[in-house]
Subunit: 142 residues, 2 copies
DNA sequence: TATTAAATTGTAATGATTACAAATTAGTAA
DNA sequence: TTACTAATTTGTAATCATTACAATTTAATA
């Protein structure tokens, strides 16, 4: 927990229990949760928590590059505490989002034709192993 | 226009004026418009057009891989008639979305750890050349 | 311990997208 | 050509994620 306090201090933003809880949640659940996922989970142990606080905090943490915001699904933002840019896979069937640890020569690009690159996102979308197997079984045994 | 008719025929979906207009719009405006952009523009020449039709048509065209759906902005879908997977740049300041034609070794991946990859999206987010210059001028001449 | 700017909270508003049912139409076959 | 039917289009209402806002609370500082 102390490491999260340090993280906020380094970024000169106020240390609040809500922010600490949100960072801790993201650090211990590498499932790329949405704001709503985060809210629902933390609300259990902190019934006074407001949904707005979760949205505000995630935005603040993002602006300070403490967390990353993914736009892989297209209808909701997902958040990721993992440091360093990495690729992701989204299963269109079950919604699973996985880290994909592959090397990419464009991962660290900072400039392209005069445009300043601040973030690089590599998204793969398709059918996960699990869902693919389920579909296969259905076809074989109808 | 005949080429759009062929495209729909090949995909065995009904040829409607709305679908033809939508494809034509995307084919002649490579600005990655949203559903709303498309609706507003086409509504001018076809006041009877429904927003729902635009959403439905874009979804149908996407399912048949006639157009691509981008999730780069995070709060709205953008559409792209351009064939073949290619990378994109989003300016966080002005909203501009550009094609980035670079080679990527992961562009044509079909499988990763048993997961079936159907789409590859490479998104760069940052500040475009134009907006960067504007910011620079502001600092120099306040 | 008092002060104050920043953060949190709850509610209302917004914006994108989807659901739905009635009306229309494209494709097909007589 | 005409009649039929399933697919499509339309308009409206509903939903879902996110943001705006004002009142209340709190973390940081002196
Ligand atoms: Mn990740
Ligand atoms: Mn493009
Ligand atoms: Zn899956
Ligand atoms: Zn710009």
């Amino acid at each position: 927990m102390q490491k999260y306090v340090q993280l906020l201090k380094q970024n000169k933003i106020k240390i609040t229990p809500q922010r600490l809880q949100i960072i801790q949640f993201l650090d211990t659940h590498h499932t790329h949760p949405t704001a709503e996922d985060t809210y629902k989970t933390l609300k259990k142990n902190n019934p006074a928590l407001s949904r707005t606080t979760v949205y505000n905090s995630l935005e603040t943490l993002r602006k300070h590059h403490i967390i990353q915001e993914l736009t892989i699904s297209g209808n909701e933002h997902c958040y990721d505490f993992k440091q360093g840019s990495h690729h992701h896979f989204l299963c269109r069937t079950c919604g699973l989002i996985l880290d994909i640890d592959i090397k990419c020569p464009n991962q660290d690009r900072l400039l392209h034709n005069g445009h300043h690159i601040e973030e690089v996102h590599g998204y793969f979308k398709g059918l996960c192993k699990n869902c693919a197997n389920k579909q296969k079984n259905k076809k074989v045994k109808p």
